[in-house]
């Protein structure tokens, strides 16, 4: 590599990340339509680009691996043979491996003769020559296990021998080879670090998961590959590794070749001619290695800076520039006006101010827009997840995704990944019935999970919908009574019953669906979503399916708020949580024994929280019939808050109180109001809790 290309490294990684997701989603589509040439071409181009650009930054292993993948893709593309399940599996694994190589390159780790890579390379080659036979379904299988522990293995107090002994208990270890290729020169050797890796063949009756569990917690991502020798290449011997490529392609043009070689006018037999051969003779692989290391080191220092940058659509920036221009014009018009202001200019001033407000608002929206990403960034990984899960749980599941273009703040997108994964996992694992049960219930054998995102009144809705068995009210109630969350005498609405599954103590509620839970409960999902200022709600029909709806704010920093007044003070209520506001008639307000003061709205009785009591204020009205009642909802529970006046709607920027002061009950944050004073933002969840406490005191 010559010239300083390190500044393109960030672009490269971004581009490669895109190519990797094209690769993965492409492969999944390919599995459905094995002969789709357009998709094959797209996949091919992605791999090809990685192969081509990688060596420019010294990522020779990445490039070499991409090349191997490409050689398998090429005959597929030319229709020489079609993509079977095994090939797709292998390609998906290769995509994972490529991802690992890219990650390693990002972190500046040199992965050179990694077992995973070499194994997959070998399999890619064999798969191409031998058409994959049907998998052998004998009870005893032979696995090839390549294990590259992290260098900190010893420091973490782990003994490799113990692991092998444990593995030996699973079956017979047929062979075991030690690879020392990671060993550095003696001067660089740190005896406390583990540079070794192993390749074993194991004959066992146990499933792959059991072998994986032996190596759990000892292995960095990508450090363990378990290959079933009886599936892809039956003839495969207990592995002699193929020699790694002698010379990575990086040296190809290190030397200045004859210019004549470039042009077609003059015929050349050898592309880079004798010079390269000479060059190789002097410094073979080491040169490439040294370059490799040097570049990745350089990459490492660059990477830290690059982390904080983000990629924005040029169009968005252009619009912003345009708007800022308009703002400048408005500003200059205003200052001209202010320079020689006379009272008859007042209407013009008002008009200009209106313009300024419009400009500001639009700029604000656009700037927020810069932080927006399509939700597909979060959805992308789910087709693969559902595919793998469906194989694992032995169900036929299709995932339908819609609304993936919906844009959301990137921090929200990052935060919803895990909750969504959990919901999807639950749907695959528990909600959808096994095929036989579905057929018996008169449903199609294939279960369907729909993932949808859309805008709804200033917020984003994400729904996860399955056509499985639905939640079982009786079982949930039984469980809740057993766990003493409710008593047998309580009458709960359906919504309240469904809300029970979000209780922390209720995480075993997954056993409702007779399959063992994963230990992570729905409470985590709910907490994650609520930390974002979102709401989770459930709709379910027994036997027909369940819909989880996540209501998410567009962004975390700004909320739509309603300004309200109590006495002299102004508070903000998040608009999302306001259901309605009423001026009650005197006969609607009642105090009931056991539930405290409440209001009867169309037959439903809600507890009243007097805000002036909560915050110890001097209100204008103490009689609910004179005041205004806001019906607020959170987590499916409702509460009525009594205030003096509604002042109007306003977008507010949330400032944390906790960071600057301390946590205040009933207050979610603060904001600066138009007149420069501080307004507190109400924490609806906290108010509901307060209402509940008061109820119990009233009891």
């Amino acid at each position: 590599m010559n010239g300083d290309y390190s500044k393109f490294l960030h672009t490269f990684f971004e581009e490669v990340t895109e190519h990797l997701s094209v690769l993965e989603s492409g492969l999944l589509t390919l599995e459905q339509n094995p002969n789709d040439v357009e998709i094959l071409n797209r996949i091919f181009r992605s791999v090809h680009t990685i192969k081509g650009a990688g060596p420019m930054f010294g990522f020779t292993t990445m490039s070499r691996f991409a090349h191997k993948v490409e050689t398998l893709l090429d005959p597929l593309r030319n229709g020489k043979f079609s993509a079977t399940r095994q090939i797709i599996d292998l390609l998906l694994k290769s995509a994972d491996c490529l991802k690992m190589l890219v990650e390693a390159a990002k972190n500046g780790t040199v992965i050179d003769e990694d077992k995973t890579v070499l194994d997959l390379e070998a399999r890619l080659e064999t798969c191409m020559t031998i058409p994959p036979p049907a998998p052998v379904t004998s009870a005893s299988r032979t696995y090839q296990i390549s294990w590259m522990p992290g260098e900190d293995l010893f420091q973490r107090g782990l003994n490799p021998l113990k692991l092998f002994e444990e593995m030996g208990r699973l079956g017979t270890i047929r062979s075991c080879m030690l690879a020392t290729s990671r060993l550095p020169d003696l001067v660089d050797l740190d005896p406390q670090r583990c540079y070794l890796s192993w390749t074993c063949t194991l004959e066992t009756d146990y499933p792959r998961e059991d072998i994986e569990s032996v190596f759990e917690f000892t292995t960095p991502p990508g450090g363990l590959t378990i290959t079933s020798l009886s599936s892809c290449s039956p003839a495969a011997q207990p592995t002699q590794k193929p020699d790694p490529e002698p010379a990575p392609p990086i040296i190809d043009e290190e030397e200045d070749p004859q210019l004549a070689e470039v042009f077609f006018g003059r015929k050349s037999d050898h592309w880079l001619g004798a010079i390269l051969v000479e060059q190789k003779a002097v410094t073979p692989v080491q040169l490439a290695k040294a370059l490799d290391r040097q570049d990745t080191l350089r990459a490492k220092t660059k990477e830290q800076k690059a982390e904080t940058s983000m990629r924005v659509d040029t169009e968005k920036v252009d619009k912003l520039v345009n708007l800022v221009g308009e703002l400048a014009i408005t500003q200059s018009m205003l200052s001209a006006l202010g320079g020689r202001f006379e009272i008859e200019h007042l209407p013009i001033l008002q008009e200009r101010l209106l313009q300024l407000e419009r400009n500001t608002r639009e700029i604000q929206e656009r700037v927020m827009g810069i932080r927006m990403l399509p939700i597909s960034t979060a959805f992308n990984r789910f087709p693969r997840l559902v595919r793998d899960l469906s194989i694992k749980v032995g169900k036929n599941i299709q995932l339908l995704i819609s609304g993936e273009d919906t844009e959301l703040d990137r921090s929200v997108i990052e935060a919803i990944g895990d909750p969504l994964t959990h919901l999807l996992r639950n749907a695959c694992d528990h909600a959808l019935e096994p095929p036989e049960e579905r057929v018996a219930a008169g449903k199609p054998e294939q279960g369907t999970i729909r993932l949808n995102a859309f805008h709804e009144g200033g917020k984003i809705c994400v729904t996860v919908e399955d056509d499985g068995r639905g939640l079982n009210r009786d079982k949930i109630l039984a469980k809740a009574i057993e766990q003493k969350i409710i008593t047998g005498n309580d009458t709960l609405s359906d919504d309240q019953v469904w809300a029970l599954i979000f209780r922390p103590g209720f995480s075993t509620a997954e056993k409702l669906t007779d399959v063992s839970g994963r230990g992570v409960g729905m409470d985590v999902v709910k907490r994650n979503i609520e930390e974002l200022g979102g709401i989770v709600s459930i709709k379910t029909v027994t036997g027909r399916g369940t819909i989880f709806t996540l209501n998410l704010p567009l962004t975390l920093a700004i909320i739509e708020g309603m300004k309200i007044r109590v006495g002299q003070d102004t508070y903000i209520v998040p608009l999302l949580s306001i259901l309605e506001s009423i001026q009650p008639k005197a006969d609607m307000v009642k105090t009931l024994i056991g539930t405290g003061e409440g209001v009867n709205v169309r037959g439903v009785f809600y507890p009243i929280v007097r805000l002036y009591e909560v915050f110890n204020l001097q209100p204008e009205h103490k009689n609910p019939a004179e005041a205004i009642l806001l019906i607020l909802e959170t987590e499916g529970e409702r509460v009525v808050v009594m205030v003096d006046e509604i002042l109007g709607q306003q977008q507010v920027v949330i400032k944390s109180i906790e960071e600057n002061f301390r946590k205040v009950d009933g207050v979610a944050g603060a904001t600066i109001l138009g007149d420069g004073t501080v307004g507190l933002i109400l924490d609806v969840r906290g108010l509901v809790k307060l209402a509940r406490q008061e109820q119990s005191i009233a009891v």
């Binding site: 590599m1 490269f12 090809h48 650009a53 990086i250 070749p257 210019l259 470039v262 077609f264 592309w271």
Partner: protein, 127 residues
Amino acid sequence: MSRVILVVDDSPTMRGMVSHALHEAGFETKEAENGKDALIKLTTMEMGGTKPDVIVTDVNMPEMDGIELVKEIRKLSAFKYVPVLVLTTDNTDEKKEVGRAAGATGWLVKPFDSELILKVIRKVLPQ
């Protein structure tokens, strides 16, 4: 006036790096994402009364690949004689022959050596 090179590649990284090398050497560059895009850029340039002095193109691209692009360029009277250098990872003799037959001026291989590219470009630049 500085000389203009049209860089055609579907990878922004590659485009960026080639352009960077050319800028360093004092060239002006235009970029296109694929063959079709390149033809559009060429037409735009033609309407503005300019044309690139040299075209550097990748082969494997969506919409229209580099080989097709060379063929198209050779059909256009305005650009018939513009040198087109192919810059690709493919390095087989068959591929090169396809490129030559299509009318490419030269064949450069990725990962590229910017010095070599510059040398070649200077060599083929119209006087």
